[in-house]
Symmetry: D2
Subunit: 335 residues, 4 copies
């Protein structure tokens, strides 16, 4: 399987490196508008045949089977559509597209042409999130109550997208993957402290059925780096702290039982339960390696990838609604 | 100065203890509906003359100059009004009242009768918050950008008020005290996981002029105890962690400079600045002792207290609007 | 059962409070050389019959069955011996005595007169240490490899004993209780930075059979408070952090397997094993309450207490040897 | 300046990478006994001319000006001596040699032949240790009281040297660099839990004049990774935590004043002082890059390096004495 990579900024070289370690997989060409990035990747990987500033050379290359798109989000749709129309399988960086319409069009094209369309939702391939998914699937958490995620640090300010489109995609696709539910309403508040168009702090609330709630705080202007997610169920609660070097996932055997006295309506008894905390061993292999393997496997097995176009669409839908709410001063958007 | 204390639950004995340590100040009577609480406080302080289940004995006692009200919030207004009408100075527990109308009526009565009306906004009397207030007042933070507070833990579920009225008052009055600004719009989302009327998790967004934003996360159903506030300015940023035993306030000399190239409109340069972090020494004397001293001083000097009725009103106004938003599914409430 | 308490400094009132909560147990008298301490305890507990500066009034009182000695260690032996000779059961503060000879004499007297002699080794009655003891006893740790304890903070400098006699008793009796082994050799280094007789920092090494080693670092001159103990076995390892508010005990399913290739002597393979970490739920009831109950139970059941005179002796033996080594510049003392 | 690197295990490639980034500096050849390591480095850096299993090819190469020795410590002396005798400047990995005699012989040869002899004491080139050195040199700490370092984690067990020779070199050379004092006596205890010759846990005490004490705990068998150093002075105290991602150095304005009442000899008053804690901004550039630059600068300027042969000797002297004490059951070794 031969790959072409479009976009060689911060993330592109990581993709090249990981695909290169897979057997039966060759990165044939890389394109970027910047000559210096092509030189950089060429020095690192002298075997790459094509280094070009014209992405069409990659998109139309006969021997290339699949395209990896690691460019700014505003270009994802056009590049992805060209690739699919050239009958290439596509792996796109997150967020999949700038609008839900674009995501739908890509999905439709990929399905019509029977091609793999995958989105690089990296974190769902980490040992930590896979462990949490296992715990939720096993039923150990019980009924899900809330998902609360904080992703803040100083910088990196983006020039083309706000903090919702830059940082929140991670929380949104992790939330979508773990909860596996359809959001009903979204609201978001945020502020642009420097550039009136580019919000640098935002809060997103997501309502699901059955009193399940999600909340995300993303922020480019915080003095400390925080990546902390609480996932609370009726039986157990999880703290996922991605900054923690070794104990990223902590499972608390804690809960509340709400016992209503049948005879006396107003007599409600709350019982607190506190048991052990366990930090399960979490695999530390690089998530991007699993992304690369999943893409190659989906192509060779002719099946959907775990983070397929539909997963990409669902994430974009939440981001789009959050952004719409933000621009309307926090108005609740019903989905 | 003779005091009467109405309500002797969790907080009442702490108030009695602190007023007792002040010279020239005597707790003459305590009332509570529960005999066992009266016995408890009587055993601890045998010198209290009046222990009664009838609060009117306290409210009308000729020798009592001031009343401390430490009962559930639903009773604050009626008790406070009676006390003021009996020409007693009043110190009320937070939140001051259940509605802004009630707060206004108490303020009007106190001002008309020239009595001190104070609210026990305990945290603004802590060494940590006083230090932060000093830093903000000195201008060291620069222009204020945001206030973000998280107050979560497991329990204690209340039977009469939701988590906004139970936990958020602290964050709201600290925010009001530190920012010293008038909120313009408030929205809130939250969920009641057990009792349909009593929300146990809530998020509150508060918009101020000049792109200042406040956000509060309160939660009775979290596996870990968090009391962490970020206060960000254009020059420095503060992390206030009340769970930290010794270094509660950390001041980060960090920031972002946004430099717009005058000639090329789209060329904006973001510069990051990282300097020292300082955890200033913070006084550890009990805040409630300062509350008691402030009340006695305000009465004897015939002046307003730092946390007077107006401060109480401002906090209730935010809580009321947040609650209204919550009940309307997150609708933005303009103030 | 009637008790007399000798010594009413920092710890005495805690002992009085805990014994008072036990049914069938009355604190009849308290003695202290300082009138103000007697007034303090008398105000707190008006039912104490005898408040005296003459400890003999307590020691010889006919109705007193048992004596609690909470005075400086230099007086423990004389007071304890008088109490035993007056046929009183005795509970002594740690460390039991200033020398092993004194400890032996007290044990001999108590056994001859069939009296309970107990030492207040408080920490072995905490939920944390009891949980660790259970884990070790169950065999879950495997063969014990080492015990490493750090107990450092700023102050409180003592005027009569050095940091070994002040802080190390806790680590020494916890180590003795958990390891349940006889030390073979002890060495210690330390420095007195202010007063040439009173060392304020010390390190103690304790050698046991079978390559088991203990090490203790005690220090009055550290900028941060640390109370952290590592207990390592062949199967699992424990970190006990007493400063941690909620997760004091962490059990790591980690280890090393050392596989020697039989054919090639020099070919040794080390295999590392990393599994889950578990922080078991630990009971948070006050340890001193369990101490009081154990003393009363030992007296009424006519049995030895868990921390009896022999446990006290074993701790003093290590402290004495460590102090001797310290004074000889770190010379190894064989026991 | 042309370099040859001998030894291409874990550290060698890092040395090659850093020297390659310096202008005017070329890595001409690399030798290693293992073909696969030569292939590995050759793939990474195709410009390296000589890849050989025979180190003599490097040592005798006419165009090579300087040799970097990154082999096991047992080979350092022989390789270093050959390099110096071939008139090459030498940079050696830590620890410099296996014995003080070897270190002395290398120093003598280098000085006689006027060659640079430097040891890669990496950590003294980190932003953190350079900041601490500045603080000590400025006098801000006051008189130095103690240096206490803990370096523990799980693995990597070595087959040829014990934990003292593997982990303690870092603490020893940092201590030597920061204290800048001559040790007077050393004792060490430790245990080999698996291989009778290879201790995996050790404690080292180092006595200096004027009541200054150093202590090091190194351990291959701990469940958590700790790299924490306390450096205490009469005016301030430092905690250096190398595991901390951002605030590695914390300076505590804390201390104790010991006031002896002149009239009453036994009346000593201890006063505690607690001020701000400051975590100064610490440069995060790679220390090894500074090592490489220092070596090149020392060669081109014909001067001694900061971590020259004498610094290497002083570290080996402490390690050798600690090892001797360890083998004699903790006997105090006077220097």
């Amino acid at each position: 399987m031969n790959l072409g990579v479009i976009g060689c900024g911060y993330w592109g070289p990581n993709l090249v490196r990981n695909f290169n370690t897979l057997g039966g997989c060759t990165v044939l060409g890389v394109s970027d508008l910047r000559e210096e990035r092509l030189k950089f990747i060429g020095d690192l990987y002298p075997n790459i045949e094509i280094l070009t500033t014209d992405c069409n050379e990659i998109l139309r290359h006969k021997q290339i089977d699949a395209i990896v798109i690691a460019t700014p989000v505003s270009t994802h749709f056009a590049l992805g559509m060209k690739a699919l129309e050239s009958s290439k399988h596509v792996l796109m960086e997150k967020p999949m597209t700038a609008t839900t319409e674009q995501a739908e069009a890509l999905i439709e094209t990929a399905e019509r042409k029977n091609l793999v369309l995958m989105v690089d939702h990296t974190f769902i391939y980490t040992g930590a999130v896979r462990k949490i998914k296992d715990i939720i699937t096993s039923g150990d958490l019980g009924e899900l109550y809330y998902f609360d995620s904080v992703r803040v640090n100083l910088g990196m300010f983006q020039h083309d997208v706000n903090v919702i489109w830059d940082l929140a995609p991670h929380d949104v696709y992790i939330m979508d993957h773990l909860l596996d539910k359809t959001p009903r309403a979204i609201s978001s508040t945020g502020v642009a402290h420097f550039d009136s168009e580019i919000e640098n702090i935002a809060y997103i609330s997501v309502r699901y059925d059955n009193n399940l709630i999600g909340h995300i705080h993303v922020n480019w202007l915080a003095p400390v780096k925080v990546r902390k997610t609480l996932i609370c169920g009726s039986k157990k609660m999880i703290v996922y702290d991605d900054v923690e070097p070794s104990e990223k996932v902590k499972v608390y055997d804690k809960g509340v039982a709400y016992i209503q006295n049948r005879e006396e309506v107003y007599d409600i008894l709350v019982q607190y339960r506190t048991g052990d905390m366990t930090a399960p061993h979490v695999e530390l292999t690089e998530a991007l390696n699993r992304v690369a393997r999943e893409f190659v496997a989906a192509v060779s097995e002719g099946r959907s990838a775990l983070s397929d176009g539909h997963a990409g669409y669902r994430a974009v839908r939440i981001l789009e609604a959050a952004n719409n709410s933000l621009r309307q001063g926090g108005k609740v958007i019903t989905l």
